[in-house]
Structure formats: C-alpha cells, structure tokens
C-alpha cells in the first residue's frame, strides 16, 4: 500500500474506533492497538500512536464533561500521583520486554475489560459513612442530580490509590487509556458515584498518558506518519460519538463492541503466546 492509501485506511479505522469508544465509554485505545497490528504495524509504533490518540480524546471530551459539574478535580488530581507514577513504571517496562509479552498482556486486558463492561456500574443509590482519610483529603463532594445536588462520601483511599497505580502501569505498558480500570478503582473500591467516577476518569486519562508520552517519544515509539491519521481519525470519531451519546440506544452496541473486543483479545493472546508477531 502507498502512504496515501495506508493513511486513509488507518484514518477510517480510527474514526470507527474513536466513535465506538466514545459511544460505549470503553475508549478507543483497546480497539486501535490490535487493529494497527492486524494492518501490519509494529507493536511499538501501534502503542505509540494509540497513546497519542488517547491524550487527544481525553482532553477533547473534558470540556463537554466538566460543564455538567460531575467530575471531581481533587479526587482526580490526588489519584494522578498514582496513575502517573504507574505510567512511568509501565512505559519503562514496555521498553524492556518483548513485543510478544506486550501483546499477551494486551489480550488479557481486553478480555478482562469486556468482562467488566457487562456490568459497569454499581448500585446507584448508596449511602456510605465519612472516611477519616478521605475527609482529611477533602475528597467528599456533590454533583447535580434531579434538579438538586447530591452529596457523596469517598471510601478506601489506599485501595483506590493502589488500583490507580496498576491502571497507570497498564496505560504506560499498552498505550491505552485504561479507563475501565480507573472507573473500577473509583466506583467499586472508593464508592464514588458512577457518573463522578466516569467523568473524573476521563479527566485523568490525558495526564496519565502524558506521563508515558515522554518515554515513548524519546524511545522513538511515536511515528509521525502513522500517528497523524490515527490522532485525527480518533479525535473526529470521538467528537461525533460524544454528541450522539445522549440520543443513542447503546445497550446492544456495548454488547457488539464487547464481542469485538474479546475477539481481538483472543487474537492478541494467540499472536503473543504463539509468537505470530
């Protein structure tokens, strides 16, 4: 394929990945890396281009989310200490392990995230008591809910912090946003309401990815000719995806998307374990 043809194919695939990622809330990164690998791209270039697109979608969508007042910047900023440190560790690991090892972990993460997305949110109404550490860190907050505001308390900060380190490490190792794991840490471990968890997670993804980006850049993972169609495509697709998010019936779409993710995960496991990379 010539550069023009290849760029068009990659751009079209990236638009779809960005669109579906925004619509289902699962992010486009998990879809992109296997797609690029199937198109014959080296895994290091694939995770570099994916990481760049993750920064673009996270930052691009943030403006739309913050206006609604769900995200909690204190929780986000505090947990970013864990995700950025984890990202440094993960990206460093990526420079030391083989492409096959990265593909294997990616396969496992894809299958795991599809499993998690079957039941993404915990029970909506829950009252949890104040936690001394979270209160000291001023994490408890409120968000607009049915005309009024709803207060919430945050729990289990150390557990959430550890999970965030792991989420950052996966992001740095695989060039993905690992939003599903960030939501898991906030929603399930720290008992933060789902809407607050989801928007705060999106807010954190860009900063986490920026911590890996320095390492990716200096190691030559970010190839401009490849990253260009990926970044522009994913950004365009996700901006459209966030717009139609409100109107669309996403339940069946999530199911289809999960099946695709599992299939790609198995493909990555196969390539990673049997050395077809």
């Amino acid at each position: 394929m010539t550069v023009v043809e290849f760029s068009l194919v990659v751009c079209a695939g990236s638009v779809i990945a960005g669109f579906l990622g925004a619509l289902t809330g699962l992010g486009g990164g998990g879809l992109l890396v296997p797609m690029l690998i199937l198109l014959g791209v080296d895994i290091h270039y694939a995770i570099g281009a994916s990481l760049v697109s993750v920064i673009a979608t996270s930052s691009g969508a943030a403006a739309a989310y913050v206006r609604e007042g769900f995200s909690n910047i204190r929780i986000g900023m505090f947990l970013e200490i864990a995700t950025t440190t984890g990202a440094l560790a993960g990206a460093t690991l990526a420079t030391h392990v083989s492409g096959r090892a990265i593909a294997t972990v990616l396969g496992l993460v894809l299958i795991g995230s599809a499993y998690l997305s079957r039941n993404p949110r915990s029970k909506e109404e829950r009252e949890v008591p104040q936690d001394p550490l979270a209160t000291k860190l001023r994490m408890n907050g409120s968000f607009p809910d049915q005309g009024g505001t709803r207060e919430y308390n945050v729990q289990h900060v150390p557990a959430g912090f550890s999970l965030m380190f792991a989420a950052g490490a996966l992001s740095g190792l695989l060039g993905i946003g690992s939003g599903a794991m960030k939501v898991l840490a906030m929603d399930r471990a720290m008992k933060i309401p789902f809407k607050v968890s989801a928007t705060t997670s999106n807010f954190m993804i860009g900063v986490t990815a920026a911590a890996s980006a320095g390492i990716y850049l200096s190691r030559g993972y970010i190839e401009p000719g490849l990253s260009m169609p990926v970044m522009l495509g994913v950004l365009g697709g996700s901006l459209v995806g966030t717009r139609v998010l409100v109107k669309a019936e996403v339940k069946w779409l999530r199911r289809v998307f999960s099946v695709v993710i599992v299939a790609l995960g198995i493909e990555m496991l196969y390539k990673g374990l049997l050395g077809k990379l």
């Binding site: 010539t2 760049v52 691009g60 943030a62 913050v66 900023m77 860009g206 190839e223 990253s227």
Partner: protein, 128 residues
C-alpha cells in the same frame, strides 16, 4: 455552609476554564498535525507505507531539537511531530494551571499535590 458553596463555585469555574484550555490545546495541535500531514502526503504519498520494522530512536523524532529542526525545514513529519508535542503539552499545562487555581482558593494541600504530579510529568518529558 456559605463557605462551602463559595468553594464549589470556584471549583466549578476552575473546571470550566480547564476544560476550555484542554479543548483549545487539542484543536490547535490537531490543526498543526493536519498541516504537517498534508505536506507529508503531498511529498511522500506515493511511496510505500512500511511500519513493520521498529527503528527506535534512529529517526530523530524523539528530541525537541530534532522536531524543531525538521519543522524549520518544513518537513511534513517534523510538523506533525510538533503538533503532537503541543498535544502532549496540553494535559501538562492543565496540571500547571491547577497549581495556581488551588493556590488561589488557598487550598495549599492540593496545590502541592498538583505540583507533585507536574514534577512526575517533567521527569518523564525532560529527564528520562
């Protein structure tokens, strides 16, 4: 209670400013990437695309000096990479802005938290 409403209002205003900063940064970098992309495709669109083999650091797109040199020479890939550097700088700018935001709210604990995050980002970008 009065105090906490005021605080929330400040938080909200800071959120909105940060959201705008992020969107402006992303759109600006996408614009630069698109310009570089057009130059690259016009010049090299007919050559064969090959990303099968990983070349590592050897292409020189990993350093700011290399990117600036290629940009000044109006090389398409250099300009794309410049746009990507702006993109990476956007969330970093968000964290830097938050330090001032928290300090203005006299929330020094979180000004320090944001400063720690910024130091980690600087370590990755400049000292790794």
């Amino acid at each position: 209670m009065e105090m906490s409403t005021n605080e929330n209002w400040n938080d909200k205003r800071m959120d909105i400013l940060i959201g705008r900063l992020l969107r402006a940064g992303v759109l600006f970098s996408a614009f630069i990437v698109a310009i570089g992309g057009i130059i690259y495709l016009v010049r090299y669109g007919d050559s064969l695309a090959d990303y099968r083999v990983f070349h590592g650091e050897s292409l020189g797109f990993g350093t700011v000096e290399g990117v600036v040199r290629d940009t000044l020479a109006l090389r398409g890939r250099g300009i794309i990479q410049l746009g990507l550097l702006f993109l990476i700088a956007t969330p970093v700018a968000r964290v830097a802005f938050s330090i001032f935001g928290f300090a203005r709210e006299r929330d020094y604990l979180y000004a320090v938290v944001a400063a720690v995050v910024l130091l980690i980002l600087f370590y990755s970008l400049f000292f790794y």
